[in-house]
Structure formats: structure tokens, C-alpha cells
Amino acid sequence: MPAVRFLIALAAVVALHFVGARISDDLPRLLDLFLVMVVFYGLQGDLILGLAVGLLVGLVTDAVTGGLYGLHGFADTIVGYGTAYAAQRLVIRRPPGIFLMFALAAAAQQAILVGLVVMLLADPALPDLTWMLIRVAATGVAGVLFVLIRRRSLKRIEVWRRSRTSKLK
């Protein structure tokens, strides 16, 4: 069941990515929804899950966005592992902490991508620094919003479930 849930989430992110790209060319540059998904799974604190989700989602990102295949696969795997490692050692519950995790993950991903491109390509096309900073901030905000909305939705579902069982009694 978790695997099915993961695949549905991945399909939804791919769909959102294409919808965003159709609305504006700048939207995928502004926000990497795939990274939000990687960090979200990483925050569960399972190192192997972080690695595996990072790899799979990263490779899907590469397939969808084009370019040198494997760049995001590598970067997102490292980010997924790093997030899971941090989540094992830190209690990240409050919005500022969550924002920091997502923003740091985005910054780390950008750093790894730039490092790889510089290392591997003879004539690398580096991203604009302003766009990188905007992307880091946007990923942080999107991450916080997603986690908070999900938390609230789960709470509501739980309340509804309890009220339903108490009515049945």
C-alpha cells in the first residue's frame, strides 16, 4: 500500500509539473515539486527510504525535464539521504524548522547540480543566482504549506473518524 501511495503521489507531481510548465515556463524554474516530495519522504527518517525515493524521483525528474540524464537522480538521492539523516537526529515539528529543512535541501540540491555540471561538462550552463535563491525560498514555503495542510487534513480526518465511531456506539 505505501508503494501504491508513493506511485500515485509521483504521478500527481508529474501532472502538476506539466500543468505548471504549460501555465508559465518560469514555474518549473521557480519551484521543484519533485524535490518537495523527496524531502517529505526524507523527513520520515528512514535512510534507505530517503535514498530510494530520492533516486526514483530524481530519475523521473531527469526523464521529464530532459538534459543530462542522472543529474537530478544523483542530487536528489543525496538530498533524500541527507534529509532522512537530519530527521533521525532532529525533532522537526514547527514551521520554521520545516521551512529550514526544505530550503536547505533545495540549496543542497542546487549546489550538487552545479558541482556536477561544472565537473562533467566542458561548457557548463550555470543557473542564475537570483533564480536559485528564489527557488530555495519557494521550495521552503511550498514544503511548509504542504506539511501543514497535510497535518491539518489528517487531524480533521481523525476527528471525523472518532466522531463517527462515537455516534455508532
Binding site: L55, D62, A63
Partner: protein
């Protein structure tokens, strides 16, 4: 004098640091040889593709880096968990093989690639691992000295399904590569000699049937070229002839890095994939080839040590399956390049350019290391 090597330092850690002590005791030679082979492969792919329109160096480098991460995943996943999910993994791999028949991308005469955007995977690489994982679980559950005929038949049926699907692509070489791991696992699990002989006879009969009714013209031509390479020096025999020239011209020390005429002047086809061994032989000569073959032997030897040290039947079978497939790939590819076996699309592990094959090999390496790491836990 006190031994200050990292392993000795780890081994001298206090008893309570069991994780680090166990980690130090893992047979890391498997990974070291894999990395060395991948590094040699990277340099050779760069040389082989230097005169091509596309530079394969960055792509190949990235795949090796990804491979190392996949190796970490293989190491991290407990093989007991892997075998627990062997049936869904097997079904998923069969689904991919069916899918490739309808929506696959054709390359080299076979529809064997699944592509999404810029990504491509070869489902037969996934199927190889899926079959090994499933059979290790099945054969480990049989508590007998010798397997019975129905048990062997069931094991063969497990591999026959993906074999038929891969053969339909049509990729007979890829289909044949599914068999060696199973044979290796069956031998370790226990097969009577008379059954082996009977199996060999049946295989010959099936082989004759495949030659007459299944193989396509170009596949038959490859075998005919193997038997008589001089018959068509500019036609079907061209590839083998160029490969032999490349290997022979390397002599003892080779022509030098990026100095091979067969690769740099584009005489040798598929030089960065299936015929990378010929490029290596031309540029580094007998000495270079010997180093690579020694590294392959060390990889297998380290793997065998892992199997011997393991106390779990499932783990032993898993390692044997992975190593059999690996060793057969190496043997077939090197023999094919020098004309000892017919030409077919079989790459050289860790050296040839190819994404899913590289990742599958690194994953297998990770699984072998993981088995060694958990040998005191899983008995």
C-alpha cells in the same frame, strides 16, 4: 610493529562498537574491484567515443556515480526483505517485459528498451535480478540434498517466462543470459548428475528447434559468421574481423591511450558498448587486458568468499546467482570479442556503456556486501 591500517583500527574498536566492527569485517574487495573496473571503463568509454558526435564521458561518469548510490541502496536493504518481496518484484519485471513488446524502443534489431522522456531502461536487466531473488527464496525453502524433477522444472519455469518474453523482443542473447544464474543456483542447491546430462540433451534438442523455427535470418547469420568469419569480410563478418584486428594489434603493451586506430578511426562498431574489450586490448595490450581480467577474477573471488562465509542458504544462493550471471557475462563478452563465441548484444559488466546494466551490476554488488554485513544476524 602496530598495524595502523583503517581495517585494523576498526577491528580494535571496543566490543560495544559492534556496528563499526562488523562494517570493518565486510568483504569490501567486491566494491573496490567494482570501482576500479568502472574507472577503467570510464577511461575506455571516453577513448572509444572520442571521435563520435556525442561525448559519452559525462553520461557514463554520471551513471557510475548513480551506480554507487544504487550500491548503497542494495547494501542497505536486508536481503531477507528483498526475498520477501520477490514475487511482486518478479511480477513487476514480467509486466515491464510485456510492456516493452508493445511500447518499447527498438535498437540494434530488438525492441528491448522502455523509454520515458530522455530516460531508457532495459527491462531484461531488472528481470535478471528478479529471477535470482525469487529462485533464491524458492530453492532455499527446499530442505533436500538433491532437488526433484518437479522442483527443477518449477525453477526452470520461473526463468522460462522472462526468457520467452525477452526472446520475443527479439533479443536471444539477452534471453540466454537469464539462464546461467539459474544453472549456478541449481547446481549449488543440489542436482543429480543424470538429471544434468538429461538437461543437456534436452537443451541441445531445444537449441536445434530454436535454430530452425525461432531465430531470425540476421541471428542465424551471426552464428554462421562465427563459424566462418572469412566468408563475408565486409558483410556480417566485418565486426568480428575489426575486433580481432583491434585485439591483435594491441600486442604486449598496446598502442597507447586514445591511440588505437580501430577505435579512433571508427573501424570498430559498437566500440563503447559490447566491443569495449577490443578497444581496451588495442590501447593497453595484453597487460591491460590481464589487469582487467584479474580484477574480474578478484571480484568473483571476493563474492565467493562472501557466499562461503554466509550461514544462510538463501544468502548463499543469492550470491551464487548474482555471481554466475556476472561471470558468464564476462566470459561470453571476452570470448565473443576474440571470435570464440558468436556475436550477440552482451555487454561487459562495469566497463561497457549502458545505464540500466551498470545500475543492475552495482545493485548486485550492494546486495552481496549487504549479505556479508548481515551474516551474523541472518542464519
Amino acid at each position: 610493529m602496530r598495524d595502523t591500517s583503517p581495517l585494523a583500527v576498526f577491528a580494535s574498536l571496543p566490543e560495544e562498537r559492534t556496528f563499526l566492527r562488523t562494517l570493518a569485517d565486510v568483504r569490501w574487495g567486491v566494491l573496490v574491484t567494482a570501482i576500479l573496473l568502472a574507472a577503467i571503463g570510464l577511461a575506455t568509454v571516453h577513448s572509444a567515443s572520442a571521435e563520435m558526435e556525442v561525448d559519452y564521458l559525462p553520461r557514463h561518469a554520471l551513471r557510475i556515480l548513480l551506480g554507487l548510490l544504487v550500491c548503497a541502496i542494495g547494501f542497505g536493504i536486508d536481503y531477507q526483505v528483498l526475498t520477501k518481496f520477490s514475487v511482486p518484484i518478479y511480477i513487476a519485471s514480467i509486466t515491464l517485459l510485456v510492456l516493452v513488446l508493445f511500447v518499447g524502443r527498438a535498437a540494434g534489431g530488438a525492441r528491448s528498451w522502455l523509454g520515458v522522456g530522455s530516460a531508457q531502461i532495459q527491462p531484461s536487466d531488472v528481470a535478471k535480478i528478479a529471477v535470482i531473488v525469487l529462485l533464491s527464496r524458492y530453492l532455499a525453502g527446499i530442505n533436500r540434498r538433491h532437488l526433484t524433477l518437479p522442483q527443477i522444472s518449477l525453477a526452470l519455469a520461473v526463468v522460462l517466462v522472462p526468457m520467452v518474453l525477452v526472446a520475443l523482443e527479439p533479443d536471444l542473447g539477452g534471453a540466454a543470459m537469464l539462464l546461467p544464474p539459474v544453472v549456478g543456483m541449481l547446481l549449488v542447491a543440489g542436482v543429480r548428475w543424470r538429471l544434468l546430462l538429461a538437461g543437456a540433451v534436452v537443451a541441445l534438442v531445444i537449441g536445434a528447434g530454436i535454430w530452425n523455427f525461432v531465430m531470425l535470418d540476421y541471428q542465424r547469420q551471426r552464428v554462421k559468421t562465427f563459424v566462418s568469419p572469412q566468408s563475408e569480410p565486409l558483410g556480417a563478418g566485418y565486426q568480428l574481423r575489426q575486433s580481432k584486428i583491434a585485439v591483435g594489434s594491441g600486442q604486449l603493451t598496446g598502442r597507447g591511450y586514445m591511440q588505437g586506430t580501430q577505435s579512433q578511426l571508427r573501424f570498430l562498431p559498437a566500440r563503447h558498448t559490447d566491443f569495449i574489450f577490443a578497444v581496451l586490448a588495442e590501447e593497453w595490450g595484453f597487460l591491460g587486458v590481464a589487469v582487467v581480467l584479474i580484477l574480474y577474477a578478484l571480484y568473483v573471488r571476493n563474492g565467493v568468499t562472501v557466499a562461503l562465509r554466509s550461514r544462510d542458504r538463501k544468502a548463499i544462493l543469492l550470491v551464487v546467482g548474482l555471481l554466475s550471471g556476472f561471470a558468464f557475462h564476462v566470459l561470453y563478452n571476452t570470448a565473443m570479442v576474440v571470435g570464440l563465441l558468436p556475436i550477440t548484444g552482451i555487454p561487459l559488466p562495469f566497463l561497457s556503456y549502458g545505464g540500466s546494466f551498470m545500475l543492475a551490476n552495482f545493485f548486485a554488488t550492494g546486495v552481496i556486501l549487504g549479505i556479508d554485513f548481515r551474516r551474523y544476524v541472518n542464519r
